[in-house]
Symmetry: C2
Subunit: 473 residues, 2 copies
């Protein structure tokens, strides 16, 4: 059966695990994208989600089901069985290192990147995997329907789909930042052209904010020398629309991710640790773009400048390990822990633990900390949106103040009710944390209420709907 709505992303909504009896059971996948799209597809029996098989069990599940298609929560899922080496090159080398670093300004251009054989091979794998997705999409989609491609893993797929199936209406949503043109061109020229042309195969290209959309449009003008009129790009005789669709928080599915009893227990544990002190919180994957070390240093600077706050505040950093097979990420996690230890040791007393860095993946504890914080520090170097900046305010019950990087996509909506920081400015971040702590009661109430309202934003299901509506009919 040909699907009437197709979503494609690298990571799918299901992951399989072998039960003790050898049978496969499906688990719901994790991550913001999955819950956003899952909500939107819920109970659409005519919808199909195409994703990569991520584990050996996923591959087995794909094999055992006809055409690799399985049932999920009311919609169908197809997992693509991609050869492991090819997948590794496409995913770990090209997507999560090369493109991720380009889009978040994480290279050190005097030394990296350096394009050699490995990079070329992984670009080739990236093309191949995009082709596999495009083929699977074309093979399973009814005439003229909408295909919604997700993220930087699949930047080439739209043009590949258009070549085979010009009848389809194709959208691509880019969940991460899009860099300025000079920085995009840290990629070999052929690749940046291919990437832009790949994306322009879509009818609609979505970003979280006007800033990333603007960078994309300037890159199109600069690299491809195409004509643009505001948010329309003329490309190969078609008009491609570029839009911004900030995704909000689905509170129900967010809290559904944890047992309320576990959350209560964690609240008690954190409250106990605080002993009446104010809670300064950060919640991050240990990702280079999250700027954890500068954030901790800013807190150190607060303690240096403000002895009156000693014993009155405590900083809890909840870190989830990320991409730990990549050396830079392992080093970064070590640096975060070491910085934390150093600062804690410098200021701690017998009765006060000024800073605790916890490395774990404990969702109930995160939800509990969201409810309790007085100050939430979200200071990414660059970030497409940043969900912590939305989830925290939505769940907070303590008139908590958000200190937010102006380079997070979330800033474009939350700025009226958050304290903005330049993420590179450690002193400036320290000043913002101080200001958040010192904020008079009335302003505190007003800001926390405002940020909670803004942070909720447009629910994921409506976020997708809005894009579908903006596709040409």
């Amino acid at each position: 059966m040909s699907a009437q709505l197709v979503v494609a992303s690298n990571r799918g909504p299901l992951s399989y695990e072998e039960a003790p009896d050898g049978s496969l059971t499906a688990r719901r996948g994790a991550g913001g994208l999955v819950s956003a799209l899952g909500g939107a597809l819920h109970d659409r029996a005519d919808a199909l989600w195409i994703a990569a098989a991520l584990t050996p069990d996923d591959r087995r599940a794909a094999e055992e089901n006809e055409g690799g298609i399985m049932e999920a929560a009311g919609y169908r899922v197809r997992l693509l069985d991609i050869p492991e080496l090819e997948y590794d090159m496409y995913y770990n080398v090209m997507s999560n290192r090369f493109l991720w670093f380009i889009c978040h300004y994480l290279w050190d251009p005097a030394h990296t990147p350096s394009i050699g054989e490995e990079e070329r091979q992984s670009w080739h794998a990236y093309e191949e995997v995009n082709r596999r997705f495009a083929t699977a999409i074309c093979d399973n989609t009814a005439e003229g329907v909408a295909v919604m491609i997700q993220d930087y893993h699949l930047g080439l797929a739209p043009a590949m789909i258009r070549t085979q199936r010009p009848d389809l209406r194709v959208g691509i949503f880019w969940h991460i930042p899009f860099p300025d043109a000079d920085y995009l061109r840290l990629m070999p020229d052929r690749w940046s052209r291919r990437l832009l042309e790949g994306m322009l195969g879509a009818d609609l290209i979505g970003f979280h904010t006007t800033r990333w959309a603007g960078n994309f449009i300037r890159a199109v003008v600069d690299v491809l020398e195409e004509q643009t009129t505001r948010r329309l790009v003329s490309h190969q005789g078609r008009r491609v629309r570029v839009g911004h669709y900030p995704v909000g928080v689905d509170v129900k599915s967010l809290t559904a991710g944890a047992d309320p009893e576990d959350v209560r227990r964690q609240k008690a544990s954190i409250t106990d640790w605080l002993g009446g002190r104010k809670l300064i919180l950060r919640v991050d994957r240990t990702e280079l773009s999250k700027n954890i070390v500068r954030g901790l240093r800013a807190y150190e600077r607060v303690l240096e400048k403000r002895p009156d706050l000693h014993g009155k505040v405590s900083h809890l950093a909840l870190l989830t390990p990320s991409r730990s097979h990549v050396p830079e990420y392992r080093d970064y996690l070590a640096e975060c822990k070491e910085t934390g230890r150093e600062i804690a040791k410098r200021f701690q007393t017998d009765s006060w633990e000024p800073l605790r860095v916890e490395v774990a993946d404990d969702f109930p504890r995160t939800l509990a900390a969201y409810e309790l914080y007085d100050v939430l520090v979200v200071n990414p170097v660059f970030d497409g949106m940043n969900l912590v900046a939305r989830e925290g305010p939505v769940l907070n019950r303590n008139q908590g103040i958000l200190v937010l990087s102006r380079n997070a996509g979330a800033w474009s909506e939350l700025s009226p009710a958050a304290l903005g920081v330049n993420p590179f400015d450690v002193d400036g971040t320290a000043e913002a944390i101080e200001a958040a702590i010192d904020l008079p009661e009335a302003e505190r109430a007003w800001m926390s209420k405002g940020v909670a309202r803004l942070a909720r934003g447009r629910a994921p299901a409506r976020w997708l709907e809005r894009q579908l509506r903006d596709l040409p009919s």
Copy 2:
């Protein structure tokens, strides 16, 4: 006496040295900017060049002359005596590290920059030194005349001058790249605003290429939210013109820098070393932006792929040490040497030295190598203009081919007759070097002639004239 034309730059045209008898003698300063401007001011007795005293002898000379004003080659020079610590912060920390890294995309944003106390102090010193220059300019300039400020060291001076002397016609020329807006904002927001507003104090803002001018204009729109119409910025009720003025080569003053006999000796020495092989040349300061390591790796890649070229080519890398008091630069020089040794060792035979990395400051040898090369590799990561890419082709006598980074300002003029490379693409650079070696005789003749003609460009004196003409009258 008030000057009728004022030029201001950090480094001046004169440097003083104590003779054995204790008297001070002036030496002509080095560098492209000095020869460019010096040519333009020649024999203008009514002109004044204001610069910083760089050495203790400079300071003494400034003290011993009334008002610090001295005679140079037909024009006057005033050296500003700036307290040493302040100068160090302004020059080494803020200008040559912070701003230089911002403008050449040299930071590693996951880790650097990190704005703390040292950075704030050096920004303050930067403001102070700019104020000293502005005051000196206002004190020594006749009514309504032109003041031409040079480069990123003095970005705040134009607005400071305007406040005191709105009668003056002020130009600033930015000799290095200007970055995209996202990257500019690696600076604290207050600094990027001050810098842009400082520059906009001028009537005319010049860059080497439309690319850097375009980045500047977008930054103005993005950071200051000012109105722009093509190349005009509306700022505080005035219209500021943004232009591009690529500077060319003054062949006479270039070759005047060395004794022809020395050059001949060096030609003999290089020719002897080559033994009839083709010469692949690079000439660089050991500056992080010059991309020396990737360039050497590209040559290695050529030798890997092309055993037929073994014994037929030799690569000479003439490196001049730069900023060796900065740790990153010392490390970079060591890395260049080590990479060179490794590649040489890998391919060398009893009769063939495939690569020689020479670290020296030997201008006659550079001029000799310019005449002799078959292929000149100029592959900076980013570069405002790059003079090697102009000097080489102008002096070459061997139908030499230029392999040139598309991120060098020179690319905008030389592209019709050079082989372009993406500087991050080692494989691509290797392909361009191969192509340059393999180029058929006819194309070789055509390209080398073309690039020599284009490289000469607009002579420095006319480059300054053009800007003076574009100032409002």
